[in-house]
């Protein structure tokens, strides 16, 4: 028994390093007064974890008694999460909100590490217990990070809404898990798949799947489980908003995709690369379609009349979750790899957009769309960069956003789901309206009050470029990304 535990340890070196970083940072935070030392240790830990992660490139197996999977799919998401987290840590160093925290600043950074641990566990879990624990670790850390600016009323309020909503959703998901346990007698995804394929009561299976999707939907902000998203995104510190909208969403999607692939695909059908045979009694494609259409449409429509940029970007990220779900519901390799490609492009453009909003609100103390009037003329660097990110978010060529949407719509068309592709394109057109409004305010309107020119330090300019260059670069040269995504769709699903 213990042999397996010893053998499994070598594969979770990245997670162990992150836990070690967390513990070391707690102690370092207590010893040193200068909080930048904690930041240095956190970045060191994340980079070290990245280094050890690269050794797991081509491994494809289950460890820890079939509870944890080390496969290319998990590898892709872990790389993604580490890149996102390192980016957010650098982002937070530049943020005035975080440096205003004074005594709590160190704790903020090591909570980001704890959040990363939770997200790592979410991407790799193949057992319902591990999935639940991973979701709860991520959620608990997110509740605390959202409420970090205790002096601001909006932050505490956002945090409270998040807690109540999150606890309720995880309670629902847990009930679904209990019904699945009753039907199949096991928590292991592979064993559940075999039991479902052998035949279980379809009504109970449907209800339990729907309840589990309440939990997943809450994590990815799908409609109708999205009600916490605008309030939490608006009230939290902006680095927390960014990491929630990019990394936490990615971890939630990876769990959803893994569960859908392992649990609902018929193990008795002949394995085909491009068309997975779904078990008959599970209407998973219908559920995902409804979620996707609702999410895209509502996200885009409500974003139209938002005037606070944080809230607007929150609704826009809800809409992007809808596009990502389009890739998932095709249930074949092409659709899944399209979702992965879209995620990478989404990382760069979304973090870039939030970065600009953060830097502007650092100097102008406002996230209102009216305060962006004339910004393009006064601070051209910010104006051009923000325009780039907005064009990418809409999905126009030659930016990365276009590449992501192209692959998603191509996967839909190849699966003969033309109507859904049309709905996706229409939604992109709707999103053009509210992105262009910002663009218009920046370049074509004069501001009412005298706003100063926003001077950026070299570090801030560099960080913006770090996200801007891939946004345009991936739009022009995306072959390596596509290959990486195609290779990463291999989810371990039994021999």
């Amino acid at each position: 028994m213990l042999e397996q535990v010893y053998n499994s340890l070598q594969f979770i070196k990245p997670e162990l390093i992150l836990v070690g970083t967390l513990l070391v940072s707690i102690i370092v935070d207590l010893i040193f007064k200068n909080k930048k030392v904690v930041v240095a240790f956190v970045i060191l830990g994340l980079v070290l974890s990245f280094y050890y992660l690269t050794f797991l490139n081509s491994i494809n197996q289950l460890i820890f008694f079939n509870m944890y999977a080390i496969d290319p799919f998990a590898y892709f998401f872990k790389i993604f999460l580490l890149v996102a987290t390192i980016g957010i840590v650098l982002f937070s160093v530049l943020s005035k909100e975080i440096s205003d925290l004074k005594s709590r600043e160190g704790e903020f950074y090591y909570f980001l590490v704890a959040l990363t641990i939770g997200m790592f566990l979410m991407t790799s879990s193949t057992n319902l217990i591990m999935m639940y624990l991973a979701i709860e670790l991520t959620s608990l850390t997110s509740y605390m990070l959202a409420g970090f600016m205790k002096e601001e009323k909006s932050s505490s309020e956002a945090s409270l809404k998040y807690v109540l909503y999150g606890a309720f959703s995880s309670g629902m998901m847990l009930y679904g898990i209990s019904i699945i346990y009753g039907l199949t007698g096991s928590f292991d995804l592979l064993a559940i798949n075999m039991a479902i394929a052998d035949g279980v009561s379809s009504l109970a299976l449907l209800i339990s799947t729907v309840l589990m999707f309440v939990g997943f939907g809450y994590k990815i902000s799908a409609v109708p489980f999205h009600f916490w998203t605008p309030d939490v995104y608006e009230g939290s510190p902006i680095s927390v908003t960014t990491i929630l909208s990019v990394a936490s969403k990615a971890a939630g999607f990876s769990m959803l995709m893994r569960t859908a692939k392992i649990m609902f695909i018929d193990p008795y059908a002949a394995p085909t690369v491009n068309d997975w045979q779904i078990i008959d009694s599970v209407p998973i494609v219908e559920i995902l379609t409804i979620l996707s259409v609702l999410t895209m449409t509502l996200g885009n429509l409500v974003a139209i009349w938002q005037s606070n940029l944080k809230r607007l970007l929150a609704y826009s990220s809800i809409a992007h979750a809808g596009y990502l779900l389009l890739g998932v519901l095709t249930m074949n390799n092409e659709g899944y790899s399209a979702t992965l490609i879209y995620f990478v492009t989404y990382l760069f453009m979304n973090v870039g957009a939030f970065l600009i909003v953060m830097l502007v609100s650092n100097k102008l103390n406002s996230s209102d769309i009216d305060s962006y009037k004339g910004l393009g003329m006064k601070s051209p660097f910010i104006g051009v960069m923000f325009a780039l990110f907005l064009i990418s978010l809409t999905g126009l060529p030659p930016t990365a956003g276009f590449v992501g949407k192209l692959y998603i719509f191509a996967a839909l068309v190849n699966k003969k789901l033309i109507l859904l592709a049309v709905i996706g394109v229409l939604n992109s057109v709707v999103s053009l309206y509210y992105y262009v409004r910002i663009f218009r305010n920046m370049f074509l309107r004069e501001s009412d009050i005298e706003t100063p020119e926003i001077k950026l330090s070299l570090a801030e300019k560099l960080l913006i470029l770090v996200f801007a260059i891939p946004t345009i670069g991936l739009g022009l040269y995306f072959a390596p990304l596509v290959e990486f995504a195609h290779a990463s769709v291999e989810i371990f699903s039994g021999n």
Binding site: L160, Y175, E234
Partner: protein, 100 residues
């Protein structure tokens, strides 16, 4: 001998009572208590299945659910206390700075 269905129906009813509580109560602490009711009903379902299946895994999950419920209660109450210090109220209706 009480059959399995009695336990399951009872747990389902308790779960529904908890859900009603979460939806209709306005005080944040009472909403928390109702969430604890929901989690207790889930625990009861797990243990009922575990007993009638001869399978001990359900009981192991209940340990973890209890752990997480305790952690969540601690964090949730800390947030409620922080909010109360700011606003002097924990009535959800009056917590409406963030609107539509």
């Amino acid at each position: 001998m009480i059959p399995l269905n009695y336990y399951l129906l009872f747990a389902a009813f308790l779960f529904s009572v908890g859900v009603v509580g979460v939806l209709i109560r306005r005080n944040a602490i009472i909403v928390f208590m109702c969430i604890e009711l929901m989690l207790n009903s889930v625990n009861l379902t797990f243990i009922a299945f575990s007993a009638f299946m001869g399978n001990a895994i359900g009981q192991m999950f209940v340990f973890f659910v209890m752990t997480v419920a305790a952690a969540e209660a601690a964090v949730g109450l800390a947030i409620i206390i922080a909010l109360f210090r700011n606003k002097k109220t924990i009535n959800i209706d009056q917590i409406n700075l963030l609107k539509w």
